[in-house]
């Protein structure tokens, strides 16, 4: 599998490390339903057979965090964007 880094171009998957689903956001620990929200956040993850939006780190290249769309059935890659450009680097509450 090769991942097209927006900065470096297409690179072998061995240069990247995988974090996981890009969707979940750390819940607000002060909210009244925090316990339930954290249970969902930690344990209830989707496992789609098909397109999945996930986070990868170009560790052996430019060291950017990337949001990658990947088809889990075919490893076809869709849109790849820098997490910072998407505002995903803002701290959680």
């Amino acid at each position: 599998m090769r991942i097209p880094c927006p900065l470096c171009g297409e690179r072998d998957a061995s240069e990247f490390t995988y974090l996981g689903d890009a969707g979940p956001r750390r819940p607000d620990p002060t909210a009244p339903d925090a316990a339930e929200a954290f249970h969902d956040y930690l344990h209830l993850r989707d496992n789609p057979a098909g397109w999945h939006v996930e986070l990868w780190y170009h560790e052996a290249g430019c060291r950017s965090w990337l949001q990658v769309s990947r088809n889990t059935l075919t490893h076809e890659l869709g849109e790849v964007r820098r997490a910072e450009d998407l505002g995903l680097d803002e701290p959680s509450p």
Binding site: S14, E15, R82
Partner: protein, 195 residues
């Protein structure tokens, strides 16, 4: 108190047969360059460009590129980050010069002794690198002045094409430089015939 005199040693000093050559390929260690990293602080991107232009009359290069001028070379290493190379003797302290130039708009860290700097040259250089480097180094894909950080034999490497033919340089961490050199020798033996 005893009086010690310590001699500076390059990362690959003492490595057996460092400056070695094969038919069409040669490798040697570059020991006279200072190296520092330059990382732009958030929101200061324009200021860093302006300061580089004012002081060194060069534009910090875009992704995958190098830029040279005023006795120094900028190598792109990441988003708004570069390695800067210069002859230390000519500048009297690269790190200090960069700190003075960029003040608090960027983080400057001396890297000189942390990396081994290898010079690879000769018409068979691409044939040797084909055995190590996962990148396409064909001139159409990796033209003169191109630079990239990748891994070779699981070791980190920053590879740059320095001229319009086949003179490459590789920066690789000092701690594993001996292993890297071993792999390079194996690749050269394989591609060019053992010496």
């Amino acid at each position: 108190m005893p009086d010690f005199t310590l001699a500076a040693r390059s990362p690959l000093a003492g490595a057996a047969a460092l400056a070695e050559s094969w038919p069409g390929f040669a490798v040697s260690e570059v020991t006279d360059l200072a190296l520092a990293s330059l990382a732009t602080r958030r929101g200061r991107e324009t200021e860093v460009r302006n300061r580089a232009k004012a002081r060194f009359d060069l534009e910090p290069p875009p992704p995958g590129r190098t830029a040279s001028g005023d006795g120094m070379t900028f190598l792109w290493t990441g988003h708004e980050q570069w390695f800067v190379e210069a002859q230390e003797s000519a500048l009297g302290g690269l790190e200090a010069l960069l700190r003075e130039t960029f003040e608090d708009s960027a983080a400057v860290t001396d890297q000189s002794d942390a990396w081994a700097n290898l010079r690879l040259e000769g018409p068979a250089t691409r044939a040797v690198l084909e055995k190590l480097c996962p990148l396409d180094l064909h001139p159409g894909a990796f033209p003169p002045g191109a630079t990239a950080r990748t891994t070779m034999e699981h070791l980190s490497a920053i590879i740059t094409l320095r001229d319009d033919r086949w003179r490459f340089s590789i920066l690789t961490p000092r701690s594993s430089a001996g292993s890297f050199l071993h792999h390079l020798h194996q690749a050269a033996d394989s591609a060019c015939g053992a010496t």
